[in-house]
Subunit: 185 residues, 2 copies
Amino acid sequence: MKSLGPKTFVYPTPVFVVATYDRGGRPNAMTAAWGGICCSDPPCLAVSLRRTRYTFQNILDQRCFTVNVPSADHARAVDYLGMVSGKGLDKFAETGLTPVRSDLIEAPYIKEFPFFLECRLFKTLELGVHIQIIGEILDVKVRDDLDREEYPSVEEVRPMFYAPGVEGYYGAGEFLGRAFSLGRR
Amino acid sequence: MKSLGPKTFVYPTPVFVVATYDRGGRPNAMTAAWGGICCSDPPCLAVSLRRTRYTFQNILDQRCFTVNVPSADHARAVDYLGMVSGKGLDKFAETGLTPVRSDLIEAPYIKEFPFFLECRLFKTLELGVHIQIIGEILDVKVRDDLDREEYPSVEEVRPMFYAPGVEGYYGAGEFLGRAFSLGRR
């Protein structure tokens, strides 16, 4: 086995776009790959942010945020949303994405993305350069044209993932099998 | 937008196999999808476990664990490792996977998988039915036959991801672009 050292290297990591309002009601969105579901009940999602991020302050101020899941079509916009700060810039205007006010929480969601999670700030945990923000998932909302009875499929959503180390974005590949089933004899 | 309710639904989630020794030195492995990288410095990874899990007790006892990243070839074994408890069962014998003792920590890694992270217990956080286990990443080790100079590529590793809701495993798909580059004008 070859050693790479203590790196934040794992496959896959997600591509989440966290959307918030600042105190003045101005929408912002940033891309985050350090995060994931962290509890089934209460349903929670974690996302780690640097405390210098505009989004970090917005979440502390508003106590809520949305986590928007992009499709592979949005890779270019998503990369942009992770590269620049929204402090002096309207990232929605720059990308052509549309912020829409949530009915449930004081946060915008991104109209063009397949689905999003509405989260209320539940806990924070200081780790080092990143602070973990844990949101309780209050609802998941899916774009109307993804008109499945329940969960939209991977084939419809076409999610992307981020590969650290090699710093690439990848799409979803072939179906390998059903969970809690494939492993049965 | 159509409401799905407060579900732990997001794409993608990872497929991690957490490997530990129990107090008697017996190796165990379990699959977990609630987790991800959570801090860049110190480099940390979070994985959420139910407190009833054998692995949970093993981590509290040994204060360390490995996170093994399977390739798509291992989908069947991985599903099995997430379906049964290792309390009265040798899951390595059942799957044919090989536990090898880490040189660095008191935990085994899975020889057949492309790479693994050696983690020391850093923090725990009670959330609800799941407890978040945060490990400091001490090293990342890659199988010798993946003979790249630095990070093994997505194409070599062929990672899989888990899709909650639809409960499916998927492989990695097409390269979409380079991060911190694609979004530049």
